[in-house]
Symmetry: C2
Subunit: 95 residues, 2 copies
């Protein structure tokens, strides 16, 4: 099981543009057959700081997600409003 935290830093002046893109990304990703869980959160201290907490069976499933049509069309449209590059953390369960 692979756990992922993906952090996006979006210009707060463009939240209206990114909200529907995130909404569509979440909906379509959750419909992927290999998606275990895919949740999106917002930093209480920074409205442009978005955090995905994801779970995938393995690395191949994550790679397949990044290769979907919805990922490849929506992510570049979101990234247009980034203030700095995203941070990606791939994790194993402790113990």
């Amino acid at each position: 099981m692979l756990k992922v935290i993906a952090q996006d830093f979006i210009d707060p002046a463009h939240l209206e543009e990114v909200m529907p893109l995130y909404r569509e990304l979440v909906e379509k990703t959750r419909a992927e057959p290999l998606c275990v869980s895919y949740e999106l959160f917002v930093d209480q201290k920074a409205p442009g700081h978005f955090i995905f907490i994801e779970e995938w069976p393995d690395r191949a499933a994550l790679d397949a997600h990044c290769d979907t049509e919805h990922f490849k069309t929506l992510v570049p449209r979101i990234d247009r409003y980034q203030t700095r590059p995203g941070i990606y953390l791939l994790m194993d369960a402790f113990g």
Copy 2:
């Protein structure tokens, strides 16, 4: 509902010392009546980088957790092996 990501940066030379401390912290925290979920992960690229993903009903429950006997005794013992201060992220669900 409050989601929390807490990141610890531990000297990899001291993993043997911190592992049982983390184990005890996870076990006792999960037994707290207000704990919704409390999971611990390790960065695949950095064995000393530990990441908690937590869920609490609200901020008061998180504060109560930080005031428990197990938190106040175990966390300083873990922090002794830190290489830099932890990072805490309090988040709301998107949408």
